[in-house]
Symmetry: C2
Subunit: 358 residues, 2 copies
């Protein structure tokens, strides 16, 4: 257990790092943010900030020397950066989680190897492979995704023929994966944590609603059929165990009309679909993550209210005066300057009595 006064290093200076830093402070833990930007939402509330690139080895080494443990707010930490840091200080979650989550093909192979379902998929690095993959999936439509570096719907294209698949892979000019479309009933996720002692705490599964590839709304708890909640927890737990994971993970799943679950994506970090825990649970995902990274015991991931989390994207943040006046709304703004289209500026958690969410 890192004692109070220790320093957690965070790679990345966005809102997730900011909310981690705000959660670390009450535990008496200092935060050192490492990010390429000169100013950042996280740096504003952190004791220390280093501006540096993720390939700047001397700066990364100095950063590692100044902290007691290291975590990150985004899964695309370059492998060389993670390896360098992991040789100097504990990096949590560990490099294995990054390796799996950075490549959609590796991720799906990993999930399948655990006996957990995914959408049908096939790799395609060339136009020719894309045609073959589309045929192999045997679906009327598929999603072409770059294997690496996609987020918020970027690096994705929906295709309805082998030719469209070939064109998409050619346009991305990067190794891709084709995923067969799944007729799901709900998109859900489980945010769960595993402590350094192996204990797992999972929050209630939630339902997520996306628009244009960006999460818009999370409803807690998800209304699932009998047994699906326990199955979602079992899946998240199996993934945490297999990765020997320490920290919070977000596991996105499709809930099928027949009651089954397929894993869609892993996020080896605190997750947007866990923001509701800040106001509706005994411990937020951010404190839970900091506890895990610092080797502290986790807290029970208990929910005491229903919650609807709404992301404030771009100029939606201009609704802040009305939200500030809502009696049951907790506002969380990220301190970002310019409200560019598609930019996550904040979120609002609307609370309801247990069982009472709309």
């Amino acid at each position: 257990m890192l004692p109070p006064g220790s320093t957690i290093g965070i790679l990345g200076g966005g809102q997730l790092g900011r909310m981690m830093a705000l959660a670390a402070a009450p535990l008496g833990l200092r935060v050192h943010v490492y990010a390429p930007e000169d100013e950042s939402p996280a740096a504003e509330v952190a004791a220390r900030h280093t501006r540096g690139g993720y390939d700047d080895r001397p700066a990364l080494a100095a950063f590692a020397a100044s902290v007691d443990a290291i975590t990150y707010e985004f899964e695309n930490v370059p492998a060389a950066c993670a390896a360098l840091l992991a040789g100097l200080k504990p990096v949590r979650p560990g490099p294995k989680a990054l390796e799996v989550a950075q490549d959609r093909l590796t991720e799906k192979d990993f999930v399948r190897a655990l006996g957990i379902g995914t959408a049908p998929y096939a790799a395609a690095a060339t136009a020719e492979e894309a045609r073959a993959a589309f045929a192999a999936l045997g679906a009327k439509a598929a999603i072409v995704k770059t294997r690496r570096l996609g987020y918020d719907g970027k690096g994705q294209a929906r295709v309805a023929s082998a030719e469209e698949a070939a064109a998409a892979v050619a346009a991305f000019a990067a190794p891709c994966i084709l995923e067969g479309l799944v007729a799901f009933r709900q998109e859900i996720s489980v945010v769960a944590a595993r402590g350094a002692d192996g204990r797992i705490e999972a929050y209630d599964p939630v339902e997520n609603r996306h628009r244009e590839g960006i999460l818009r709304e999370t409803l807690a708890p998800a209304r699932l059929g009998a047994g699906a909640g326990a199955e979602a927890w079992r899946i998240a737990g199996a993934i945490l165990e297999a990765l020997d994971y320490v920290g919070v993970i977000g596991v996105e799943m499709f809930a099928l009309p027949g009651g089954g679950l397929l894993v869609n994506e892993l996020a080896p970090r605190v997750h947007n679909s866990g923001h509701w825990t800040m106001d509706a649970c005994a411990v937020s995902q951010f404190e839970q993550h900091v506890r895990a990274v610092a080797g502290w015991p986790l807290k029970p991931a208990l929910r005491f209210a229903d919650c609807a989390m709404e992301n404030l994207i771009g100029d939606e943040v201009e609704r802040w005066p009305a939200i500030a006046a809502e009696p049951n709304a907790a506002l969380h703004l990220y301190g970002k300057g310019e409200a560019r289209p598609g930019r996550k500026m904040g979120h609002v958690n609307r609370l309801f009595p247990m069982g009472g969410r709309p």
Copy 2:
């Protein structure tokens, strides 16, 4: 309403300023801490920090120029400092509250003028006046308190005769007040807020337990006789109105065996006996205060759990590993280095279901 991106200036860099800064961040408000210390608990989580004395007029003017509204974490802000700042930017709560709360005699006169009871009291600036005051109180014992600058039991002495009273006033060598001892059943407090729009939100009255003049424990809610809770709210409300107050106030009271209430002390700021609100209420006293200072609407001061708040004083903070492992305990450490005797190092909020506190 100050828009997100605005800056709140806070005088003082201790734990109260720190918790205000942590509450301001989710509202998108930046914090600039002004304090005499080079490093401080608040500065560590604030976007900006100025080291300066409360009599350093150029530094105070530059501070005022950099912020949009100003508040403070301690009531002993020098009057000249408050006046200078109030001429440059809104200072909330206003100078009137400071004037009343900085002098125990002024404070008691103010409370009495509202028709609210206090312990019997009499002023004494000299040994001779102390003898007369002790006699006038007609009590077997009294507390001699310096009129100004006392806190956490400092500047106080219990006396049992006119001669002891005279000696105490002579020893303090400062204008004093004698207060007759009150045979109270409980020490309670109400933490309440008044918004810039005049709306008042009061938290449930709580019971406070002191040792050696320092608050040790707050139990929420207080178990009061019929009508006493409403009367405590009425008293807090009358004081807020009379001061045309904006922000959070702590009103300490004695609950008498017969059911009556006497006001003991006002704290024109967030208050240690309101720390329980951080985990047991829909809005913490810190967010509520920041909302008031920024001209935002208050939120309903609703409680959703019972809570026992324990201060961690001096080396009590070394119990942190056990507290971190308690499932229903929320730990709040202040990031202070040295655990000196009597120093407030943190607090812990232990939650219980409504109606279930020990």
